[in-house]
């Protein structure tokens, strides 16, 4: 017989390295036509970081994403970056590219102030223009400013900058300190169905609410959540490297090490919670790693809700769940404490 269950789990997760310096640097070049090129030493590993970094540069310069070309991942060409690790790219590299873009922009603003006959502090870059904040009709196109800066004034608009997240070292005895500059939070609720004759679990639905700070690109935030949930389902139910008694892996292949397929993935409802981080670029934090963190406990709590057994060692394979159900049934018959079918 199949039993439905629902479980909840929440989590917190930090952005960047634990105290240790993990700087990023970036170079932004504004071309004579108002388009821009970003040089970053991070590496695109699939999460969409280059797209996000391009959007941050575009936002700072008041241009659109397609106006920014991104060059990455070459130690001879691109400036130092700690790399694609620790959910740090949007927050740390994002701040570096924002600062680099701001430096290039400051040249553009100085030139535009001369061209418009106003003070720099009166100006902003928006919608491909530099304009007076309080009187947007007084404006000049970014392309004209960039061309004027380079050709007429000999000041090519170029910026370079670095960023390292602010932390405070931890006391070695008590661990007290400020190990990270920012944390994100998330909750996932899962619906499952457990077959008490086979122990098999089907994840029917996942509801995921994730704080990422400002979502620079909501589609990419969703992509991280969806992929993280897949990895969390694998952790909860099927994935495990097994060893023989001599210490050799038994299943080093995708035939016997089972990651979720398209048939294992449930529909997912995502809510992006946009808190505003005071340190992150435009309020952004990060989203890469934390997406999988609440999935396994939410599923395990749903399994308990469905059949009353609590599996305490992952993965919760069908065999393990079935044994726990049988054990619980035997305890109930003997009149022992019900409810705990611990493995």
């Amino acid at each position: 017989m199949k039993h439905a269950g629902r479980g909840i789990a929440c989590m917190w997760y930090p952005i960047g390295f634990t105290v240790a310096a993990n700087p990023s640097s970036a170079v932004v070049k504004v071309n004579e036509d108002g388009t821009a090129t970003l040089l970053t030493g991070t590496v695109e590993v699939g999460q969409g970081s280059l797209t996000v970094l391009g959007q941050i540069v575009a936002q700072e310069l008041g241009i659109s994403a397609e106006d920014v070309h991104v060059i990455s991942a070459d130690t001879d060409v691109t400036p130092m970056d700690t790399g694609a690790i620790a959910s740090r790219t949007t927050f740390v590299t994002g701040n570096a590219v924002r600062l680099a873009a701001a430096e290039a922009k400051s040249i553009l603003l100085e030139v535009a102030a001369e061209m418009l006959g106003v003070e720099v502090r009166e100006l902003e870059a928006a919608n491909h223009q530099i304009r007076v904040k309080t009187f947007p009709e007084k404006r000049i196109s970014l392309a004209d400013v960039a061309m004027g800066a380079q050709i007429a004034r000999g000041r090519p608009p170029l910026g370079s900058a670095s960023f390292n997240p602010p932390t405070v070292a931890m006391d070695p005895e008590t661990g007290q300190g400020k190990p990270f500059a920012a944390y994100v939070y998330a909750t996932q609720i899962t619906d499952v169905e457990v077959d008490d004759e086979t122990g098999e679990v089907e994840v029917l639905h996942v509801y995921a609410a994730h704080d990422s700070g400002t979502a620079i690109n909501p589609a990419l935030v969703e992509g991280q959540v969806e992929g993280g949930i897949a990895m969390g389902i694998g952790m909860a139910l099927s994935e495990e490297i097994l060893f023989n008694p001599e210490g050799r892996q038994i299943n080093p292949n995708l035939t016997n090490y089972l990651i979720p397929t398209s048939l294992d993935m449930p529909p997912i409802d995502i809510d992006i919670i946009e808190s505003y981080d005071p340190v992150g670029p435009f309020g952004a934090k990060g989203v890469g790693e934390p997406t999988l963190v609440p999935t396994a406990p939410a599923i395990l709590n749903a399994i308990y809700d469905a059949v009353g057994v609590r599996i305490t060692d992952l993965p919760a394979t069908a065999e393990k769940i079935l044994m726990a159900i049988r054990k619980k049934e035997r305890s109930n018959v003997k009149g022992l404490e019900p409810g705990e079918g611990d493995t």
């Binding site: 590993v45 699939g46 999460q47 969409g48 589609a219 990419l220 969703e222 992509g223 969806e226 992929g227 993280g228 949930i229 897949a230 990895m231 292949n253 995708l254 035939t255 990651i259 979720p260 397929t261 398209s262 048939l263 993935m265 997912i268």
Partner: protein, 167 residues
């Protein structure tokens, strides 16, 4: 050594290969068609999926000599940079793909599906992708993208839009 000849993406290709050479190896190494990927070499992951005479196959499991005289479609025979198959266009709009390594195989599997069944249900899409592993996306936006592509006029009405606007 064995002579093989096949029609790959509408073009006749020939090679002389040892008997044990896989289709994937001849595609990638002899002809430079590196779009099909080697992810496991034993038919588990589907990153090497191509069509042979219209059937989707794992190119890592077939020997080149077994495909001699056949017609092969690889990802390079789908859209190019300026013209995309509706599946590719939908994946692009939705950012369906992340690291991209599974994408060539998934695009081919999706094409095989909608060639046979232009109006698949969500479950039919999931079943068609079951041999293509993806570790990044949870398949969510890939499945949405295929469903969206099936609603495109190019699929529903069989109309192709090319540069000159001709079908």
């Amino acid at each position: 050594m064995h002579q093989v000849e096949m029609m790959v993406n509408g073009q006749v290709r020939r090679a002389e290969v040892p008997a044990e050479t896989t289709l994937l190896s001849v595609l990638r190494e002899t002809w430079g068609l590196t779009g099909s990927k080697l992810g496991c070499d034993v038919g588990d992951c589907g990153a090497c999926t191509v069509l042979v005479d219209g059937l989707s196959v794992n190119a890592c499991l077939l020997l080149a000599v077994q495909v001699d005289g056949q017609e092969v479609l690889t990802i390079e025979g789908m859209g190019g940079f300026d013209y995309l198959h509706p599946i590719q266009a939908a994946f692009e709009r939705l950012s369906s793909i992340q690291c991209g390594f599974c994408a060539p195989g998934i695009v081919i599997s999706a094409k095989a599906l909608i060639d046979k069944n232009p109006h698949p249900t969500e479950q039919e899409i999931r079943e068609a992708l079951a041999g293509n592993l993806c570790r990044c996306t949870g398949y969510t936006k890939i499945i949405e993208g295929i469903a969206e592509a099936c609603r495109a006029p190019a699929i529903t009405d069989g109309i192709s839009v090319t540069e000159s606007g001709h079908v």
